[in-house]
Symmetry: C2
Subunit: 374 residues, 2 copies
């Protein structure tokens, strides 16, 4: 259910009710512009993943600086993006079940819609839905290039699926979905690079087999914030799906760059604002932000701005801080910024983005696709 | 943002769109009735914690079978409960900041409202808000009886706070909040019991010191699903806050009872319904339910009904199943029930409860306080 807004336009940041999800708009815009230049110089298209931001407002900003469209994972996300003004959406995921496929097929009358497959039976079901609505759907074959999740084995199985797609009345074979999810957070630069080199061999092998079967591969799409430069430089990928770059998080900040530094090319622009609600001892304070405010699947959030203060544990509604010897004294009611451990599922906990510039609330955007899971 | 309902009344369970949060209504009602009898026989009041269910519909059902009111953790939850027909709500937590305190004080004109404190300065702020609205607020002193989160040290510091509350114009000292959160999931029966015996000594010490200062302690409240029998039998607690009993989850199911069995007194009534969306290999299938459908802070969900099939990893929108040698062959589109690892934050991911009886959808209730974090 949608909850009240935690702020109003014009408020100083310290008046925002907490926990709240805030965007540092200067850093956010810096990230959008930097990625725009980066992909342009690398000569690839950029189709940012909306699973990060879940917001047509942000999607349109990405498209305004050059992105070709959006990716998402769910039909419900695609519906919200199209309703919010995005006219080119790739569901970079399998869609199974008649209800979902009919929603996808209906949507394809109103926007360019793509979807991924890794199963022969599913191709027929997608075509049946598209036939019913008289729409055309772009279908990409997902190959498993090392992530060990969905996707067929690269090579012959992918060719078989591409042939099946080509034989369908309302589907168009539109290329390969090739995303190495596991590589995104390999910490070492060279290890991360090697994972994508290996992945690119799988993709090339599949493209060659497709060519041998007389099938052109119009597009290879994939890549995330952790690896997109490798995919782009490989000459194999045409389109990059990096999404987290717009916000960043603790997990991505632990990746290492070529010179051994932490990955800070993109700035942290997303924060959970929390309030100190209890200071039971000199060594411990408690924030009003726990599992319901910041996702911990990829680690705990990190405290900003306060030296020697560490976020050490979370429960549903509480976050516990350990106050070190060199920590400044905290006061009850003090507001503290946290960098989320993992941006995507953290965003999914909130209804509103509070945009802040020069410590003043400038924008309040709905997290329109929060909870859009089906 | 509120998403569409995943089902309609009268549908068979296999037509529910996924991922969906479903309640087995027979098991749910069994749990409500069993707890009602249990607390009655133990001679304590029951004030279930709404942080589990986040629903005035369920709150009223608990009150209908004997509960005296509800607990919650946040002012926004209290507002939703009162608006939904609950007239006695204890915020079993500290509330800090003028905005929140004024909302609490306004609400106290329309329902009996209690709140906890562990800080002297906070007591004055609560009284100022209650004065502004001409309301009276019940204030309980939270003591830390081993959870290591909020709460003052038992004994003299609690007496000091009780005296301060008594001196305020619009506040009433209403007892002690004494919740041993850490004890709830101690697996061994006797270890769990010992933790509450130790906790009860802290409470008794505080009650005695209060008595010495001429202050009556009207109520001791606390206890969760893992320990409520110990608190009730101690003679120290008057009121039990157990909430998870209505749904249960994997984590509570790993507790052991006195005879060494898994704790199954209450039945699993809450499930995430998911769809098999990919079967890339004989050993692996992928569900459409990951971090956005089931919280993993207390462990992964568990697969129901299917022998030798294990939920082995989750990403945002995917759950990966390992298919063992004795697993039956899964089919694409097959729907599978998962027991959530931890019920409370799982409920917080969903907008709707789909109530099912005899495999037919009977009710669709909003998770009205989903996202109510401030």
């Amino acid at each position: 259910m949608t909850q009240n807004k935690p702020a109003e336009i014009g408020m100083p940041i310290q008046d925002i009710d907490t926990p709240a999800l805030i965007i540092d708009l200067d850093s956010f815009e810096h990230n959008l512009n930097l990625m725009s230049k980066s992909v342009a110089s690398l000569g690839v298209a950029h189709r940012p993943h909306a699973k990060t931001h879940k917001s047509p407002v942000i999607a349109r900003k990405q498209i305004a600086v050059g992105a070709v469209g959006q990716c998402c994972q769910k039909v419900s996300e695609a519906e919200i993006l199209v309703a919010g003004g995005v006219d080119d959406v790739l569901v970079s995921n399998q869609v199974v079940g008649q209800q979902k496929l009919e929603r996808l097929a209906g949507l394809a009358r109103h926007a360019r819609i793509g979807v991924c497959v890794d199963n022969l039976e599913n191709i027929g079901a997608i075509n049946a839905a598209a036939s019913k609505f008289g729409s055309q759907i772009d279908v990409l074959v997902e190959i498993d290039i090392g992530a060990g999740r969905c996707g067929v084995v690269p090579g012959a199985p992918a060719v078989k699926l591409a042939e099946a797609i080509e034989s369908m009345s309302h589907l168009k074979f539109s290329g390969l979905q090739a995303y190495q999810g596991r590589a995104q957070h390999i910490r070492g630069f060279s290890e991360r690079k090697v994972a994508i080199e290996k992945a690119s061999e799988y993709v090339l092998k599949t493209i060659n087999l497709l060519g041998g079967a007389g099938i052109d591969c119009p597009r290879v799409t994939g890549g995330g914030t952790g690896t997109y430069q490798f995919e782009a430089e490989s000459g194999v990928w045409d389109e990059i799906q990096a999404g987290s770059y717009c916000f960043m998080d603790v997990d991505y900040g632990l990746n290492l760059t070529e010179d051994g530094n932490y990955f800070d090319t993109f700035r942290n622009s997303l924060f959970v604002l929390a309030t100190v609600m209890s200071i039971p001892t000199k060594e411990r304070a408690v924030l009003d932000a726990g599992h319901k405010a910041s996702a911990i699947d990829s680690g705990l959030p990190k405290v900003m701005d306060l030296p020697d203060v560490e976020f050490v544990s979370a429960s549903d509604e509480h976050g516990t801080l350990a106050l070190g010897r060199n920590a400044l004294k905290l006061s009850l009611g003090q507001k503290i910024r946290l960098i989320p451990g993992h941006c995507d599922p953290t965003v999914n906990l909130h209804d509103w983005y509070v945009g802040v510039r020069n410590n003043i609330v400038e924008s309040i955007w709905p997290v329109a696709a929060r909870g859009a899971a089906f």
